[in-house]
Amino acid sequence: MGDVLQIDRIRCDGHGLCAELLPELISLDDWGYPILKPGTVPPSLVEHARRAVDACPVLALRLASLTGVTQKR
């Protein structure tokens, strides 16, 4: 069905690496916190999304499959 990005808003400290690595889907607000583009991750960007998940220093970003199985990396 597709993958979606999810952010743990409490863990997120606004480091911003996710927006650097996936600018197509993640932008930053005035204070450096991520704004997610709604919808699923296009297949062409899934690998980039995984890299963004991996890069987060506080593990606040995750890629979840809409069928319910979660992939963290």
């Binding site: 997120c12 005035d30 204070w31």
Partner: protein
């Protein structure tokens, strides 16, 4: 009146039993079916169907669920929950006991706001009057002061760890809550109504009122009315009925704040005949929320009132999520400058831009509520905001714009 009483003081057990009879022995499956059929919607603010919520917990419970009766009532304009608990504690307890039976819980927590002394005393005395029901499985937990401490994950977090701040979901309380067990977090008014439906059946409840949703409910009416306070209405009663119940409007009224949390400002003229039930209001882009109805007098400035509300909401952030802490603080600051007619260039544009960046960006819905409030203010008081950006206040310079018969 079912939920509140004209006389002061808490209803004692004997009077409660005389009036309503004993706790019905209705089995759990049947009770949940009655709640479904009644269409009872939750009264904490979200308006989620009560039967569906109980079923979700019951399905996961395996006998070890928890019921948390939420009487924290952190919304400053809402007084209904504490009034209900103070006046009819046994009805609330009945609802909690029935919920416990329905979802398979042996642990009932009454979560009462620290400032609601009469409510807590009434519940404590009422529990002491029925030791058979209460012994070993009920306790009163005092909710810390603060707006977010009544949020369902915050309530569970407080019981688990003494920290009344919301947590990241999933898992939601109905999946994993107090002690890791499926927990039903239900507003005390919802529990009281469930206790009435259990005795009288869904048909009775459906026969009350004439809104898109049926039944009765509590409103807290405040502001430019003669008798501000908690009033019981049949759902579908209009805004004008609510004003009449509160002794009529006092003077000219500029606008009305509906719902508190997840609510917003509305135009009095347009909404004078608005049926007060959740689906009707949602159809008009408004929300019943926790039943707050606050009339803003014409000599009050909508921008100032909004600035005060936003400043309060910003101060009540749990300070866990950047967008909420920084976003609300910036919005409150800019709105204060606008209200004080000392705006900086671009303040209004900034507020509009920021208001679109709040929804869904916190762990709980606190920033969402602020966004809804702000957007409704920009719509309802659009001219006033534009004037304030030019450092003028229409309320001071213009006579009352709304005259209500």
């Amino acid at each position: 009146m079912e939920l509140i009483a004209r006389s002061a003081g808490a209803e004692r057990l004997m009077a409660h039993r005389q009036r309503l009879g004993p706790l019905p022995a209705i089995p759990s499956g049947a009770l949940i079916a009655e709640l479904d059929a009644s269409g009872l919607l939750g009264r904490g603010g979200a308006g989620f169907p009560v039967g569906r919520k109980w079923r979700a917990v019951a399905e996961r419970a395996a006998g070890g669920a928890v019921v948390l009766a939420n009487g924290a009532e952190g919304e400053p304009l809402s007084f209904k929950d504490r009034s209900l608990m103070a006046a009819r504690p046994h009805l609330v307890i009945d609802g909690a006991l029935l919920a416990a039976r329905a979802v398979g819980a042996n642990d009932i927590i009454f979560y009462v706001g620290v400032e609601h002394a009469a409510a807590e005393a009434a519940l404590r005395n009422a529990l002491a009057e029925r030791p058979g029901d209460a012994r070993g499985r009920t306790r009163i937990v005092t909710a810390p002061a603060g707006y977010v401490s009544g949020e369902e994950s915050a309530a569970v977090h407080y019981v688990n760890a003494g920290d009344a701040r919301p947590t990241t979901t999933p898992p939601r309380p109905f999946e994993r809550g107090v002690g890791g067990r499926p927990t039903l977090v239900q507003n005390v008014e919802s529990l009281a109504l469930a206790a009435l439906i259990a005795r009288r059946g869904h048909a009775w409840y459906q026969g009350l009122g004439d809104g898109r949703a049926r039944g009765i409910g509590l409103l807290t009416v405040s502001g430019a009315v003669n008798h501000a306070g908690v009033h019981e209405i049949e759902l579908g009663a209009t805004l004008s009925d609510a004003a009449a119940a509160a002794g009529g409007l006092r003077g000219d009224v500029r606008g009305v704040l509906l719902g508190g949390y997840f609510g917003g400002w509305a135009d009095l003229h347009e909404q004078w005949g608005l049926p007060l039930d959740a689906p009707s209001m949602r159809a008009r882009g408004l929300a019943l929320g926790c039943g707050v109805v606050h009339f803003l007098p014409s000599d009050s400035c909508g921008v100032e009132a909004t600035a005060r509300l936003l400043t309060y909401l910003a101060s009540q952030s749990a300070r866990q999520c950047g967008p909420c802490v920084f976003g609300l603080s910036a919005i409150a600051g800019a709105t204060q400058r606008l209200a004080a007619q000392s705006s900086q260039p671009g303040d209004l544009d900034r507020i509009v831009r920021w208001s679109g960046q709040l929804t869904g960006r916190g762990a709980c819905h606190h920033p969402d509520g602020a966004a809804v409030l702000l957007q409704s203010a920009l719509q309802e008081f659009g001219e006033e905001f534009a004037a304030h950006q030019r450092r003028r206040c229409l309320t001071i310079s213009e006579p009352a714009r709304v005259a209500v018969a």
